[in-house]
């Protein structure tokens, strides 16, 4: 759709999903919508990679899933963060901040 979107670096998608789910349980479509909104449409998630990522996180036990009704009464698979997922999110978030800061510093001084 938008050509100015940024391809997410490897592993970042997991982080964004976890962060999104940290607020409240959500289903796949809403997760992608929310990420797009917050990133002001800069980051567009390819549907092709969102669901595999969700399933991967679920397998690792960082999020868990259950089917329930949406506001407009359709069945959807809701994902929520588990305790292990919360720990993982903290670790990844701090790692990401360190990395981003370091990269930023290099870019400024180089």
């Amino acid at each position: 759709m938008t050509d100015s979107r940024i391809d997410l670096p490897q592993g970042t998608l997991d982080l964004l999903i976890l962060k999104t789910l940290a607020l409240e349980p959500q289903h796949g479509w809403a997760i992608s919508e929310r990420i797009q909104q917050i990133s002001m449409d800069v980051v567009t998630i390819k549907q092709g990679s969102l669901y595999p990522a969700l399933h991967r996180l679920e397998r690792r036990g960082w999020i868990k899933a259950q089917w329930s009704m949406t506001k407009n009464s359709r069945h959807a698979k809701y994902y929520e963060l588990t305790e292990a997922g919360r720990k993982q999110l903290e670790a990844e978030e701090s790692a990401w901040r360190k990395l981003a800061a370091a990269v930023g510093r290099v870019l400024e001084t180089a």
């Binding site: 759709m1 289903h27 397998r59």
Partner: protein
């Protein structure tokens, strides 16, 4: 971690619900997306389309999700297998032909491999057979194996004393003890063995005990171990045989034990009996150091190579030659792996011919299956293109097709094992009539099983992958649009298919030619002029116990008596006998002595009076041998036509004399020095053992003048069914001496000996040739059908433009004929190169026999035409209108 595992298990075991959920989840996503667009003011259809487009290939996403489940490889393989099985079920014709083709090829090869393994590459039935070696003495500079001889007792004892790289060195001596029982008399196969022999082989008796050390002293050595089969046959497997006495060579031996089943040693026959080899002081005297009597077997210490053992023996040989020059000067010692002594028996050409034929069938089968797969892959391009468009990755498609081929190959392999199992049974049956060594061991073996499976898998990978790789190189749009692509790939496909067919026909030509030559050989053999009348003839062999009959003279007295009684039997019209196996080296009287190595020679047989008449042989010149040719009469002989042709060209040999230059091997000649022999008659060649085995110059001498100590083969001409006389004949012989052994009653099936060495290869190769023809026909038919299907449109146009049915038929058949002719040309060229290897099996027909070659070419072309006919007719029946609408 645990969570991970549980998740994966659920994904595996509850696959269906996972799949359903996934589908639901993704669909929900697309619907929600569409809803968003509807709210933004799009029409529902447009919104749905756009949401779908945005989402991309749903199959691909599903695929990636499944990957996240961490069970992808397992479940996908299962999925691919299911898919492959479904595809195969959907095309029962294709599947049946392919599986049967593979099964026949693989099965036949498995059977053959097992057979050859049992017959040729047998492993000795002892632990660590690789450590076992045979040690021979050999004249220095004498290179061939035939010059390897046994050792003397003293030399072996010396070797035992200072052996380094050997765990043990033992010796043995072959024996043919004569067993006389109230019921029967026969020669046994036995060996006298040294004390450490059984320990060295690593074999113990299964019943009773092995020899004690004291039993290797002269005087205590009248004890024996029985071979298992002999024990079963002769003593009904009775366990109380232990401790009983049997009479061998007229002396009592106490039975101590029974060897395990399948114990054989060095010769391929089951060893009947083992006795202790007691070395006497005579054996161990220096005088005997130069007598080569003992065969030596050693077991190398672990890790010692054959080369280092040989080096050790080389220095031992030098030492022995220094210490005892008179006996050992000029002799070396040779170490050979015991296993290799087995490989020495060259594989009979007939077996090689069969093995080659089986391989050819497998090749043809593979080509055929490849062809079928190829034809299918191009037919399935559309299906594949659709799958690719739905987002299946190239790797996945290739894997799916590969799985399908693999499934095909495994089915073929399994069926092949079944075929092989039957084949092995048939070969084992055949081997019973066919004295191949090691035939006891024929069974479908593990290695053959593995060989079979790997063959089928390799076949699948190669032939399954090539078409599937080709198949995935599909231009998606083109194939979906379908028209243009079809034309381009058809051309390529036909070219490859055509090549396959050419290869197949060429291989079939080679096989059918071989079969043709062998068939002609056996008809020639069956119709050969044998020079005697084989009808109503009974033959049997006799053996006289050597401990009773010290000389040929003693034997001959009884032979005469037996002959007299046989002649008196009711139903016997004539009786005579002969002893084959002699060799006469001679010079012609009045000719200068020939150069050494250039002496004339001929097979020699000692015969009883009336031999020629009993056989109804044709006397060409001179007279038959009679009662008048006694031991005191001047030496005479009859020669056959070949003899006359070779040594007396253009001269009548009758009344000519020849002078023997050596003992007639195996015949005692009491008239030493040899007196000149007068040729008194010439007969037409007679082929007692068939036209192949009894070829060449042959001379017949009166038995009275050459009383050999070899037993006598009696020949009776009967007025009744020959085999019906066996009991009375047996009684007649035993009434002279109950200890004379009778062996091998036969109806003188003239064809047996020669025909036997050709019937097995002929039958097998003919069956394979038939298979090859069938497979080629299937292949040709398939290719032509395919090309007709592809060209329906073109044919329609041609007919619409006025082509007649005839023209269409001609066009299609011409295409097949072209392929057939090319294949035949290649095949004939190949066969001309290959049939040379059959030469030793052929009789009365050359390996390049033009009749066979022309006939085979015609047969192949006829088969090709027949195979083209059905598709050609279909093409000719094309209705132009439907054909044109076909696109």
């Amino acid at each position: 971690m645990l969570h991970d595992l549980i998740y994966r298990l659920r994904a595996l075991l509850r696959r269906d619900s996972m799949e359903a959920e996934l589908d639901k989840e993704l669909r929900a996503h697309v619907e929600q997306q569409a809803e968003k667009y509807v709210q933004a003011g799009m029409s529902p259809e447009e919104a749905a389309r756009r949401a779908r487009l945005e989402f991309g290939g749903i199959e691909q996403v599903k695929e990636d999700c499944r990957e996240s489940w961490g069970v992808r490889i397992v479940s996908e393989l299962a999925q691919d297998l299911r898919y492959g099985a479904r595809q195969l079920r959907r095309n029962p014709g294709f599947t049946t032909v392919a599986v049967l083709t593979l099964a026949l090829g693989i099965g036949a090869n498995t059977a053959m491999f097992s057979f050859l393994d049992a017959v040729v590459m047998r492993v000795l039935p002892y632990p660590q057979p690789g450590e076992l070696v045979a040690i021979y003495q050999q004249r220095r500079g004498g290179g061939t194996e035939s010059t390897q001889v046994p050792l003397s007792a003293l030399n072996v004892v010396d070797l035992q004393k200072d052996s380094q790289g050997f765990q043990e060195i033992s010796y043995y001596h072959w024996e043919r003890p004569f067993l006389g029982t109230p019921k029967s008399a026969e020669y046994l196969v036995g060996a006298a063995i040294s004390p450490e022999f059984l320990k060295l082989l690593g074999v113990d008796p299964i019943l009773g005990r092995a020899f004690a050390p004291s039993e290797f002293e002269p005087g205590n050595d009248r004890v024996a171990l029985l071979g298992y089969d002999f024990w079963q046959r002769q003593f009904g497997g009775r366990r109380d045989i232990i401790g009983q006495t049997i009479q061998m060579d007229g002396k009592p031996y106490t039975v101590l034990g029974v060897m395990p089943k399948g114990f054989y040693f060095v010769m391929d026959v089951d060893t009947n009996v083992l006795t202790p080899l007691a070395l006497s002081s005579e054996d161990l005297s220096e005088r005997e150091r130069s007598s080569h009597t003992l065969s030596v077997v050693g077991r190398l210490s672990p890790g010692v190579t054959l080369a280092s053992a040989q080096a050790e023996m080389d220095s031992a040989a030098v030492r022995l030659a220094k210490q005892y020059p008179s006996a050992n000067q000029g002799w070396g010692l040779k170490v050979r792996s015991l296993l290799s002594t087995y490989y020495r028996q060259s594989v009979p050409e007939s077996l090689l011919a069969i093995a080659a034929a089986t391989l050819l069938v497998l090749l043809i089968g593979c080509v055929n299956v490849a062809n079928l797969l190829l034809a299918r892959s191009s037919v399935r391009q559309k299906e594949i293109a659709v799958r690719a468009a739905l987002g299946a990755g190239r790797k996945r498609i290739v894997r799916q097709l590969l799985m399908e081929s693999l499934l095909l190959a495994l089915a073929g392999g399994l069926a092949g094992i079944f075929v092989g199992w039957i084949g092995v049974d048939l070969l084992a049956l055949a081997a019973n009539h066919y004295p191949v060594p090691g035939r006891q061991g024929i069974a479908l073996n593990d290695s053959a099983f593995i060989f079979c499976l790997s063959l089928s898998v390799i076949t699948a990978v190669i032939f399954g992958l090539v078409p599937s790789l080709r198949a995935t190189k599909v231009d998606l749009n083109g194939s979906l649009k379908e028209a243009a692509a079809a034309v381009t790939t058809t051309a390529g496909r036909s070219k490859v298919g055509g090549r396959f067919i050419v290869a197949e026909i060429a291989l079939a030509v080679a096989l059918v030619t071989a079969a043709g030559l062998l068939i002609r050989t056996s008809t020639n053999l069956l119709n050969a002029d044998l020079g005697f009348d084989p009808d109503h003839v009974l033959t049997f062999d006799t053996a006289f116990p050597p401990y009773k009959y010290k000389t040929g003279i003693q034997e001959s007295e009884h032979v005469e008596e037996i002959l007299a009684r046989l002649r008196a039997l009711p139903g016997v019209t004539d009786a005579a006998g002969f002893i084959p196996g002699g060799r006469l080296v001679f010079r012609q009287e009045g000719q200068p002595p020939p150069a050494p190595g250039q002496e004339p020679s001929a097979d020699a047989e000692a015969v009883l009076p009336g031999f020629m008449h009993t056989l109804r042989a044709t006397l060409i010149a001179g007279r038959e041998l009679t009662q008048a040719d006694t031991a005191s009469a001047p030496p005479v002989a009859i020669v056959n036509e070949s003899f006359a042709r070779v040594y007396f060209p253009n001269v009548n040999p009758v009344r000519r004399q020849i002078v023997p230059l050596s003992q007639i091997y195996g015949y005692e000649n009491p008239n030493a020095p040899p007196q000149p022999i007068l040729i008194v008659g010439v007969i037409k060649d007679i082929f007692l053992r068939g036209p192949v085995l009894s070829k060449g110059p042959r001379i017949y001498l009166p038995y009275s003048q050459y009383p050999a100590q070899h037993g006598m083969i009696f020949v009776l001409r009967t007025a009744v069914q020959p085999m019906s006389l066996v009991p009375t004949v047996r009684a007649a012989v035993r009434s002279v001496d109950s200890e004379v052994a009778l062996l091998g009653f036969d109806r003188m099936r003239h064809d047996v000996a020669s025909w036997e060495h050709v019937w097995l290869p002929m039958t097998a190769v003919s069956i394979f040739a038939g298979l090859a023809l069938l497979l080629s026909a299937v292949g040709i038919s398939g290719v032509i059908s395919y090309s007709v299907a592809q060209r329906t449109h073109e044919i329609g146009i041609r007919m619409a433009l006025g082509a007649e049915r005839r023209d269409v038929l001609r066009m299609v058949i011409g295409q097949g004929l072209r392929l057939a002719l090319i294949g035949v040309a290649f095949g004939v060229a190949g066969a001309l190169a290959l049939t040379r290897f059959l030469a030793s099996l052929l009789y009365g027909v050359t390996p390049t026999d033009p009749v066979t070659f022309i006939a085979v070419s015609l047969i192949l072309i006829a088969v090709a035409l027949a195979a083209c006919y059905i598709p050609a007719r279909r093409a000719a029946n094309v209705d132009p209108m439907t054909a044109l609408r076909h696109e």
